[in-house]
Symmetry: C2
Subunit: 377 residues, 2 copies
């Protein structure tokens, strides 16, 4: 990959933030570090582990900071290839919080288990069989968490007895180790109504407890109960049943989570926004409106449009692949102005960029590669 500025790399260390190529993701390092501290304080106070989700940022540099100063003991990944590049960077404890079913992927997962502590989620007896066969062939052992459906209706077996049956199959399978439960409800994270979020969380805990009873009846120890996200992590931390938290977005935040934060008063989601998409006004051909150079290829809109900051009364109102439409009724923006957007959704936005530009006091302090960008497998 060419490392030429403006071709693949958006910034050089020491340059002014205003000179960074646009569109580029800017990390406010002070805010990022405060977010790390806030999370560390919660997990230390509650005595739970932090298995931060690397799917949010896909950056080995961020992962290492989460570990070194942010209280993380391990990481989640969604893909074997994502886990591979983190292991390559020196991370030694990863849960692939997803089902891995393709034979070639399973073989690589097992292989990765020889270089680091690797666990994977399972919700299917056939998959248990396939993983076991690959572990035998690869002469390795791998840890499995039974994923239970705690309300999302996505992956996961039914809580209770069904989960215990699968756990027993894992425990009986050569090369596999039953390590615990995966219990994550993504829809609870972004629920903006506090009572509804609490109800969704209560359901999660009830389903976990029901499963712990079934496991106990089956005589199976359950060392790990893993779950939680940025929207509910304080509930899981205080629940007494979760042993580790999987929050990811908390360190950078996005417009979707800022909405949750602002509606609930910052108690449950205490983080500040630390990631901005810096853009340039590229067209100002008519009054009351400008066009910036950030569109679908530089931020993801699946959770809504980005929020324009710093410009009173102006708003990002529309999006094409390489253009953003900004209503500016007071005509404050002019050609070549830099603007900052809070992307709608952190995870797929980071995945659009090769680099994150870390800035402090207006100066580029670091340029982090998005190590697992595009690692789809």
């Amino acid at each position: 990959m060419s490392l030429e500025l403006g071709l693949s790399v958006p910034a050089k260390i020491g340059m002014s933030v205003g000179d960074v190529e646009t569109p580029a993701l800017i990390i406010d390092l002070d805010a990022f570090e405060r977010n790390l501290s806030k999370m560390r304080n919660v997990v230390e106070k509650q005595g739970v582990g932090l298995r931060a989700h690397a799917k949010a940022h896909k950056s080995a540099d961020i992962a290492h900071r989460q570990m070194e100063v942010g209280g993380a003991h391990g990481f989640c990944c969604q893909k074997v290839s994502e886990a591979t590049v983190l292991v390559d960077s020196g991370i030694t404890d990863i849960l692939v919080s997803n089902q891995i079913v393709h034979p070639a992927k399973i073989a690589r997962l097992i292989d990765l288990g020889k270089r680091a502590l690797i666990r994977v989620c399972v919700d299917d007896a056939q998959n248990v069989h396939d993983l076991s066969q690959a572990a035998i062939t690869g002469e390795a052992e791998i840890g499995c968490l039974v994923e239970i459906d705690v309300g999302a209706g996505r992956c996961g077996v039914n809580p209770g007895k069904d989960a215990a049956v699968l756990a027993q199959q894992i425990a009986d399978a050569p090369g596999l180790r039953f390590d615990g439960l995966q219990a994550y409800n993504g829809s609870a994270q972004h629920c903006i109504e506090a009572t509804e979020r609490q109800a969704l969380f209560d359901t999660v805990v009830q389903k976990v407890e029901q499963t712990l009873v079934a496991l106990n009846e089956a005589g199976l120890a359950c060392p790990i109960v893993s779950g939680a996200g940025t929207g509910t992590f304080q509930k899981e931390a205080a629940s007494g049943v979760f042993t580790e938290l999987q929050a990811g977005t908390y360190c950078l935040m996005d417009a979707s989570y800022m909405t949750v934060r602002n509606l609930e008063g910052g108690q449950e989601v205490p983080f500040e926004n630390a990631m901005f998409l810096q853009c340039t006004v590229m067209s100002a051909a008519r009054p009351g409106k400008v066009v910036c150079d950030g569109g679908h290829k530089s931020h993801a809109v699946d959770s809504g449009l980005p929020i324009l900051v710093d410009v009173d009364g102006a708003a990002y109102v529309g999006c094409n692949d390489e253009h953003g439409i900004i209503n500016d009724p007071k005509n404050q923006l002019k050609l070549k102005d830099k603007i900052r957007l809070i992307p709608g959704h952190c995870d797929p936005t980071c995945n659009l960029h090769d680099y994150l530009v870390g800035v402090r006091n207006g100066i580029v302090e670091t340029v982090w590669p998005v190590t697992a960008r595009g690692k789809l497998w």
Copy 2:
């Protein structure tokens, strides 16, 4: 970049399509080539140029095929960095169909003009000044198209006199050459109602003609009128005022354009879908529903969810970052099955992938890098 299979590369030449890593973009080479032929037939019959838009696929390999067998004489890009990698691949005629305003980008644009025939769109007198100064400094000449707003309300000066004034400024500016007009209305492309699309197109032509009159009155020749997309290209081709077409998606297609095609009967948009996202069923924990491994990080949903093909009565109904939810009321899909999706929107979907896997008769014939993937500047 590591070229390891399953880490960065999804397929090897000669493998069965069923063995390709998922999620991966599969190009049906027969359908792709038929699409190229259909477009070539139109431009040859109508005697217009084809300046195919490389923003759709970002692949130098596809661009070279569009040129060698598809009738294209040149290409559009949206970004200087996108144009740079195409020039690196041997493409010699590129219009950056966008405004370039950042000084560093302008310098690179001018520099690129020494290696290829480069043009750029302009809609601002300040930008004309900046481009001219950079051309003087760089000791190069660059061609400019005045972008006129033909109904999209995005970039572009007003048609008619305003456009002629800007064209005169370009003609008078040292280092710049007034080469013609950019007249593109993106919203007309995806308009599914035929009468409404025709009305939008009629407005485009009326605004172009009004501008041609104003340019003529100013004594300015206008060698190029560039515009059109996959949804309206036959209208521009037959209009008598457009000299070249900027269609991009036509060679691969997507669910959004397939909807336009199907509603208008295939006369105006005669192309077939040639790009699929191949996925694997990764969870089948409950009846009537499965989960596949393709979500926001492997296809863009800004134009709607992808369409599941080949599975009667089943549909892709929901999406998370790495998961797709498929309703399968007849329980036809089982764990590890491969499925094919038509992505909602071609351009931002290609931009999520490092490679396109070209398949014929079920065998991988070629693996094309997405050369300009992530080239945001």
